[in-house]
Amino acid sequence: MVLEHEILPYFQWLLYGADESLGALPRFFLIVLAVALLGLLLGAIVNVARHGLLRGGDRIYGIVATGFRELFSISPRRTWALTSLAMKEAWRRRVVVSLVLYLVILLFASWFLRTDNQEPAKLLLSFVLMATTYLVLGIALLLGAFSLPGDFKSKTIYTVVTKPVRAGEIILGRILGFSLVGTVLLVVMGGCSYIFVIRSLDHRHTIDASSLVRVTDREGTLIGYDGRTSTDAYHHHLLELDTEHNGDSAVTSGHYHRIEGHGEQVRVLEPTGYLRARVPKWGKLRFKDRKGVDKAVGISVGSEWTYRSFIDGGTLAAAIWTFSGIDESIDDYLDKEGLPLGLITRVFRTHKGVIGRPISGAIQLRNPQTGLKSDAITFLAKDAQVDDQFIDRELPDSEGNTIDLYNDLVSDDGELEIWIQCLEQGQYYGYAQADCYIRLPDGSPLWNYVKAYISIWVQMVIVTSIGVTASALVSGPVAMLFTVSFIVLGFFREFFVWIANGPSWGGGPVESLVRLVTQKNVISKLDPGPGTTLIQGIDDVLQFFMQGLAQLLPDFSALSTIGFAAHGYDIPGDLIAQDLTICLGYIVGLSVLGYFLLRTREIAR
């Protein structure tokens, strides 16, 4: 699973933010202030140009003063009336057809999904969550962008605005109404898709009891059976059963089966472990280079994506995670004592080696206070696989003495270092901070699924809010295009910010266009001259506006939690709380903006 940004505790995120950045709340107020000032400036220019200095100024004052007064006189009854109306309107617009479409997608999904996939749960979860996201965002887009313009076109808005309805109530009522409709759709979709996933993953194996190999001890006494299950759903499981034919199968494709023996009959129960909600406890990552010198990052193997960096095998290079808050209670949920670790390793090979054979590595535990280190525990790393490791509580140190994990390797303030090295020369391991973690007790997969849907809900509400707000000013198709632009830019927000923040290769938007047309490469400088100065000047202005716009864009890729659910990781509560707060911020901000947009337009034009 990829986790490019650290998930901060909720209140730290809200008030203080990460290093060198503002908390969400002060940032929200700053953005609101900037937008308000910009709106005021634009409004003043337009009004003064149309009505002269005195009358224009008077109008602006009137709008702002009335606006503030009306914003605090919103009536819940009126807002609920408009919310109910929006819901009825959505129902009338046959929004339920989307459910039929969704069911059709699920019905025929098995035609297109590779059932021989090694991680079928990941594939199915990604598919249903992605399909739900796109479908619901599409519905939110259409409902949000075309509702108010529809009222303007049919002139039904006349009979609404001539009642004591505040413009903010019209906007808020629409947002809430469509969000509630979307919520109902999401609940139905969530239920259907969960059943679809469970049913798709369900399968049974059989065991031919006569094929089981008897396992005996030295004296020839039967101690169990070895064997394998039948091949179903493109896989089989190896078995180690007791003398009564009871036991668990080996884990294959992310799941196992409980085996029950009834005399000579052996029964394989339903798959277990497909859907998980691993709860990781993350540490801080640092590196050592091939000479054993501390580095913030490892080496690059040429990948443009710098999320992971690499350590070279057969050298002193290591990836080191420091975990804090470690004590004996960490393994309380297990029936054995030790440290449950989760590890994801990206393997980069500079020579082929034996195809299919994993690359060997070593794990060491170290006390950051005393420097005491455990002996190396070797493991085999398969590329990009989640590897569940368990470190016994009692383990040898480098001199062969037995040491206690919690008493000897954890510092007085609860810190523990985990060192990972690649043992094979010419091969590389790649890690990011989220790739090694201590496994806490798993969360509920069903609740995790619900949380994934909550994050889809958040995206839906934001899209609805943008659509409704835009439609307060412009026609339906224009509002839709505007909202689509927001969605697209929101999904590629990081790239957009990267362009806006420049300097980037190839210059800003205009310079890039010139390079495209003139087929110039992105490295060489443009010929100096007034043309180049003009182009770069325009780019500077554009980049300034892009930076401003970037502050308003919702980061849809960050709001999405599909990665967590699909890879079987618990979606942190802090992240959900942050998403919901962001959603609330957009609803409030866009309702206020929508109020002023609706208030300043002529309804009957």
Binding site: T66, K88, S154, K155, Y158, T159, K163, P164, V165
Partner: protein
């Protein structure tokens, strides 16, 4: 209503169709005299509206410096041909449009002030209602917009549905309604808040004669309850029947403003209506007119209006179903104009 009927007060007031100077719009002050005894409900001061295109270029000047006042308890009609600025005036009064110049005040507040809507009812030209709602839902929705509590709302909905005669169709969606029924529910929504000022845009548009009469009766009833009604129409008969005062607009300009009875009075013509005159008596009257150097313009039996005839037939048909209507058109009323 405690006040006397303004019509009876103003019989002797001057003001014929040709009384103001031709081409000069009448000043608002002229009618202030007539109305200053009652609170002013609507007031426009040099109200102008220019429609512009996207680039701000003038497309049409819909209203030119309109000065108008409407007082409590009167029915004010805005009369004019299509495109004369009637609907624009109504929209400016409602705040649906912003004035290019001048201002519109309702109950002393700016037309753009939302709080004025608490006391306003508006029936638009086409009853722009949500067609997927039924009558009850429609009125309940608009009641909620006035922040009315549920019990009050329910009571008001029942009253209004009965009032506009839609009791049997209260659960039908508006998309199944006829034009007349839509106008009725439109009127009901305009009255949901028991408004003090009702603005009606072409209230009889699309209505059959019965509906038209009911609408006119309703307007007179509202007036009798002390409510102010502003209506615009290009149907002269409707305006004449219900309005106390009219403002005639043409090409965005106010051309005439005054009491209906005064405006329609032809000062130099006398009309006598009598029943049961013998031919000898009629002859005597003719002689009398001639003796006094009067010119007899017309002496005949009056005809009823087609509207009256139609309504009488329908009522008769309802009273005696299955029988041919009995028309009583031959009243012996002699009308003399001289």
């Amino acid at each position: 209503m405690s006040e006397k009927d303004p019509k009876s007060e103003m019989v002797t007031q001057a003001g014929t169709l040709d009384s103001p100077a031709a081409g000069a719009p009448p000043a608002a002050g002229a009618q202030t005299q007539e109305t200053d005894s009652k609170p002013v409900v609507i007031q426009t001061r040099a109200l102008s509206k220019v429609y512009r295109d996207f680039w701000g270029r003038q497309k049409v000047r819909a209203l030119k410096a309109l000065d108008l006042e409407g007082c409590q308890g009167e029915v004010l009609g805005l009369l004019g041909p299509n495109g004369s600025g009637k609907t624009t005036t109504i929209k400016l009064l409602l705040g649906l449009l912003f004035p290019s110049e001048g201002e519109a005040l309702i109950f002393g507040k700016s037309a753009t002030d939302v709080s004025k809507n608490e006391r306003i009812g508006y029936l638009p030209e086409e009853s722009y209602l949500y067609r997927f709602l039924n009558a009850e839902e429609t009125l309940d929705f608009y009641g909620r917009l006035f922040d009315m509590p549920a019990e009050v709302r329910q009571q008001r909905v029942d009253e209004l549905i009965r009032l506009v005669g839609l009791d049997k169709a209260r659960r039908r969606q508006l998309q199944e309604y006829s034009k007349g029924m839509t106008r009725r529910i439109g009127l009901a929504q305009a009255l949901i808040n028991d408004p003090d000022l009702i603005l009606l845009d072409e209230p009889t548009s699309g209505l059959d004669p019965i509906g038209t009469r009911e609408m006119k009766d309703m307007i007179l009833r509202l007036k009798s309850e002390g409510k102010t009604v502003v209506m615009c129409s290009h149907l002269l008969a409707d305006v004449q029947d219900v309005c106390d005062r009219i403002a005639i607009l043409h090409q965005g300009e106010l051309k005439e403003l005054g009491r209906v009875d005064t405006l329609l009075t032809v000062a130099d013509v006398t009309q006598i209506r009598a029943r049961g005159l013998s031919p000898e008596c009629q002859h005597e009257i003719r002689d009398c007119i001639a003796r006094h150097q009067g010119e007899l313009l017309e002496m005949d039996n009056p005809t009823t209006t087609l509207e009256e005839l139609f309504l009488r037939i329908v009522r008769d048909s309802e009273a005696r179903p299955g029988q041919r209507a009995k028309v009583e058109g031959q009243e012996s009323i002699a009308r003399i104009q001289g």
